[in-house]
């Protein structure tokens, strides 16, 4: 079941169209990556989902209901550009934001205590925010976002400003939230984290959706039958006798091994390649080159330019 459906959403500002006919379905209890170059319209879309901005046309449904302001407490949003009141005490401030989300004071206190302990910032409760490091402030913001246990969480660049240890901590928390049943919409330029976390992705470029679906399936679609084979033996002799079913893209030598990058043509299989290769030597390894999200991203966005016209 889809927790969030975005139907034909368009939004224009004075001088440009920010979103054009966006359709998206976000399945429940999954991590959904919203990707796109700067200025593609991601933040506008996220603001529409958060009921901060209204779309010019189209609609957003949360569990089948048209989005309204009562849904706000069911969504947790960590904006990309985020800040806290510098002069306010950390704990007091977290409590304030929690109460704005509709939690009772007692409830908020109990939960905050748990999370402050868990993120090891309990001793900062009575310190002013301006005394906290950026990473610590980010932790507080993250806690405030998830504290009211929303069904839908929206993280815009959640890892910016975190060191690798805290990034890892945050990733674990995000996976934990997913395990508990929350749906996570996740916007980032950090492709490694997309590969690691996301189940589904959507790619937005120039105000339009150009790709969406299951991450694994997308990768399958975009793989191009290219394999790296590392091999000990007489490579030259082999390549001279090679049939037209293969194309050698590049060859490199390292530590006495030869690595060749092959593109399989005419629906040949890797087994056929191996059979042809075996008489000339000994195979050390064989890997299929699966395109990274990064590759797909760059390829699609670059291809998108001439189409625009």
């Amino acid at each position: 079941m889809d927790i969030l459906e975005i139907k034909n959403v368009s939004k224009s500002f004075v001088n440009h169209k920010a979103l054009i006919d966006i359709d998206l379905s976000i399945p429940e209890a999954k991590i959904f990556g919203l990707l796109g170059p700067n200025g593609a319209g991601k933040t506008t879309l996220i603001r529409i989902i958060n009921h901060i901005t209204m779309p010019d046309s189209g609609e957003v449904l949360l569990k089948g209901q048209r989005l309204n302001s009562s849904h706000i407490s069911r969504i947790g949003y960590l904006p990309e550009e985020r800040g806290l009141y510098k002069k306010m005490k950390t704990g007091e401030q977290a409590l304030y934001f929690a109460q704005l989300k509709g939690l009772s004071r007692a409830d908020a206190l109990k939960k905050l205590k748990y999370w402050f302990e868990k993120f090891e910032i309990g001793s900062w409760w009575n310190k002013k925010v301006e005394e906290l490091s950026k990473g610590m402030q980010q932790k507080v913001q993250f806690i405030v976002t998830i504290l009211h246990e929303p069904e839908l969480l929206i993280f815009d660049e959640p890892f910016s400003g975190f060191d690798p240890i805290n990034t890892n901590l945050l990733k674990q928390e995000i996976l934990e939230l997913k395990r508990k049943g929350s749906t996570i919409l996740f916007s980032t330029h950090n492709m490694a984290s997309v590969e690691e976390l996301c189940d589904n992705i959507a790619l937005i470029n120039k105000s339009k959706k150009i790709l969406d679906g299951d991450l694994h399936e997308i990768k399958e679609t975009y793989k191009s039958n290219v394999f790296d084979i590392t091999f000990q033996g007489n490579f030259d002799k082999f390549s001279a006798s090679l049939s037209a079913n293969y194309q050698i893209i590049e060859v490199s030598n390292k530590n006495g091994n030869t690595t060749g990058r092959f593109k399989l043509l005419n629906e040949t299989t890797t087994n056929q390649l191996i059979t042809e290769l075996l008489p000339y030597g000994h195979i050390v390894s064989l890997n299929e080159l699966i395109p990274s999200v990064n590759d797909i991203f760059i390829k699609l966005v670059e291809e998108d330019i001439p189409n625009k016209g």
């Binding site: 004075v14 209204m54 302001s69 550009e81 806290l84 009141y85 704005l100």
Partner: protein, 440 residues
């Protein structure tokens, strides 16, 4: 609704707890009390040494004319020793040397001193000589001085207001002017100070990017209203603190001084120092004025004035604060606010500048229009209320003010909603107009 309460609470507490608020709350009344107390204190501490003025009277005409008074003595010196005295003036310990030439015309009288003689001494000497010459001239003309004094009249017009039921009420124009002016000044100050605080608060949230987190929980309008109401309560708290503290300080100080000595007000001091003739009449007038002032104060429409003050303070504040909030939302930092501030400050300053003309003619057309137009009425109407304002004018002015602040709040809300999420854009009036026309 509970969300807006949380916002009000935060805005209120974060400001009331600030050191600057506490300092201002204490310093304000001390400064005000100082205005009342310091002159009296200074007068009390007036322990000037006794001054002795040496008189060299070449005319030998004024032997009996100089009466000593407290801290001012006169000594006649031998005219032969004058040159010597001049040479050794600092050693002689005289405050001044008065030289009266040998002539009855009283010209060329000189007062010599090694420092600038103070005005009281000079005036006193003047009056002594004038008094002497005057009596002589009267005598020469055959006019009886006591008869002449008896024709001196002193006119003091009492202003008495006839109320609608025909009863009369003593009122002092000066007191009414003072009360109206003070009320207007306070409203003017509070609108400026706290309106600017609203603006700064919005800019702070915007530059800190707190607003991004806030708007995912609350509506921009709630945020704006929460801030405006919270700060209004800070203003009222400060105002109440000032009144309480000022009264406390003044009454404590008065008690302390009453114990020490009967205090003379600065005015009384002045009168005594110059020792103006017809002292008694003055004292009478003064007593009259005081009792008139008291009865005027007692007869002021206090209920209406307090209601008017609260209404116009809140109305004026809401009107301007919402516009200040809109400005804060439209800019990225305080330096960009200049171009938008001008249209707000002009009517405020204008109404204050016009105050002196309005107060001279509180029923004139200038006063009428300024007290009806909502952008100036909070300040101007307060000056008119003590003089008495026709009910329909008051009601019209209040209705217009209420309607206008609802309107400006609505408009400001539209700008605010867009402005707080807009960064890095130089906003001008055309841009604001576009924001106003967005539907959502």
């Amino acid at each position: 609704m509970s969300k807006i309460n949380h916002i009000i609470k935060r805005e209120y507490l974060s400001r009331v707890r600030k050191k600057s608020f506490i300092i201002m709350s204490i310093l304000g009344p001390i400064l005000m009390a100082a205005l009342f107390i310091v002159p009296a204190l200074l007068a009390m501490m007036d322990t000037d040494d006794e001054k002795t003025v040496a008189i060299a009277d070449y005319s030998n005409h004024y032997k009996t004319s100089f009466k000593d008074k407290e801290k001012l003595k006169f000594v006649f010196v031998n005219i032969d020793s004058v040159e010597n005295l001049k040479l050794n003036f600092t050693k002689a310990k005289y405050y001044a040397l008065l030289i009266i030439p040998d002539s009855t015309s009283a010209n060329n009288i000189q007062l010599l001193s090694n420092m600038q003689p103070d005005i009281n001494t000079k005036m006193y000497i003047n009056s002594m000589i004038e008094g002497k010459l005057r009596s002589e001239k009267l005598l020469a003309l055959g006019i009886d001085e006591t008869k002449l004094n008896s024709i001196n009249v002193n006119v003091d017009i009492k202003t008495i207001k006839i109320k609608s039921d025909g009863s009369e009420q003593i009122s002092s124009t000066e007191v009414i002017m003072g009360v109206g002016f003070v009320a207007a000044l306070i409203i003017y100050m509070f609108i400026f100070i706290y309106g600017a605080q609203v603006m700064r608060g919005v800019i702070e949230e915007k530059t800190n990017r707190v607003v991004e987190i806030l708007v995912s929980s609350v509506k921009p309008f709630q945020l704006m209203m929460g801030k405006i109401i919270g700060i209004a309560m800070v203003a009222l708290t400060q105002f109440a603190l000032w009144i309480v503290l000022t009264l406390t300080i003044v009454s404590v100080a008065q008690l302390a001084m009453n114990d020490a000595k009967v205090v003379k007000t600065p005015t009384e001091q002045m009168m005594q120092a110059s020792n103006v003739p017809s002292d008694m009449q003055n004292m009478d007038k003064k007593g009259d004025f005081l009792s008139d002032a008291m009865s005027t104060l007692a007869n002021l429409p206090f209920g209406l004035m307090i209601f008017g003050f609260i209404f116009y303070f809140l109305g004026g504040y809401l009107l301007y604060a919402s516009l200040f909030a809109a400005i804060g939302s439209a800019v990225d930092n305080e330096t960009d606010t200049q171009q938008f501030m001008l249209p707000l400050t002009v009517p405020l300053i204008l109404s204050f500048v016009m105050a002196q003309f309005i107060i001279q003619n509180p029923d004139g057309p200038l006063a009428f229009w300024f007290s009806i137009i909502p952008f100036t009425s909070p300040i101007v109407m307060l000056m008119r209320i003590p003089f008495g304002v026709p009910a329909w004018e008051l009601i019209l002015s209040m209705v217009l003010l209420a309607a206008t602040f609802l309107g400006t709040t609505w408009l400001a809300g539209k700008i605010f909603r867009i402005g707080i999420l807009m960064y890095g854009k130089k906003v001008n009036y055309r841009e604001l107009w576009k924001w106003l026309r967005y539907d959502n």
